[in-house]
């Protein structure tokens, strides 16, 4: 299975770690900048740490000033641009908007969990349980309605797949 390359900020790494689902990040080739490494220093991941060149360090600093995002998020966006990686993982809504302006495809912890289910790494019951844990156990802000909406979508997907068989 080809692993999609992605850059992550610290949000999804922390939230997946909080619910014991960090292993699913392994379905991607994750790269992180130094600032994200220091923000997630106590979490062990297989993410590769890459240095920003001067031009992209400057861009990261600029993004913190002009777009009011944190340094970790700014460095991650800048690293994605430096490496030509289109996929960017974040749970921060502002970082998500900034990434969109630079042509990146931004997704968060919920998207990663659902993708792991779609790729067969998580069963339906596992993804459902992780989504509920995300609401009850992690520091990610998500409403109960959105968790239940996501679960309904997953169940609809499973039943339409069964019908096709």
């Amino acid at each position: 299975m080809t692993k999609l390359p992605a850059v992550s900020d610290s949000g999804p790494i922390m939230h997946l770690s909080e619910i014991g689902a960090l292993r699913i990040l392994g379905i991607f080739n994750i790269v992180i900048p130094e600032e994200v490494l220091s923000e997630t220093a106590n979490i062990h991941t297989n993410a590769k740490v890459l240095m920003l060149d001067q031009k992209h360090k400057d861009l990261a600093r600029l993004l913190t000033l002009t777009d009011s995002i944190q340094l970790g998020e700014a460095e991650a966006i800048s690293l994605a641009l430096q490496q030509g990686v289109r996929l960017f993982f974040t749970d921060d809504l502002d970082a998500r908007s900034v990434a969109g302006k630079y042509g990146l495809k931004a997704h968060g912890t919920v998207g990663i969990l659902v993708k792991a289910f779609r790729k067969g790494i998580l069963s339906e019951s596992e993804v459902v349980s992780f989504l509920r844990l995300l609401r009850s156990k992690s520091s990610l802000f998500i409403t109960n309605d959105l968790v239940e909406w996501s679960i309904r979508k997953i169940k609809q997907h499973s039943s339409s797949k069964k019908r096709r068989k």
Partner: protein, 62 residues
């Protein structure tokens, strides 16, 4: 607190006065602060909803 200059229509001013007269708010400043707070919260909730829905669609796609 900061002062934010803004122009509003006569009709809005009348409606604000009506709510104040009815006792819902102490004055225009309190009413406007409340309205802005509600707007910010609603916008954040809508952005979160759009992001989660986009994530699920992406997750379930090939």
């Amino acid at each position: 607190m900061e002062t934010v200059p803004a122009k509003v229509t006569k009709r809005l001013v009348d409606e604000m006065d009506e709510l104040i007269d009815e006792g819902w708010y102490a004055n225009k400043s309190e009413l406007i602060r409340n309205a802005i707070r509600d707007l910010i919260n609603r916008t954040k909730a809508e952005r979160l909803e759009a992001a989660i829905k986009e994530d699920v669609e992406w997750g379930l796609s090939d």
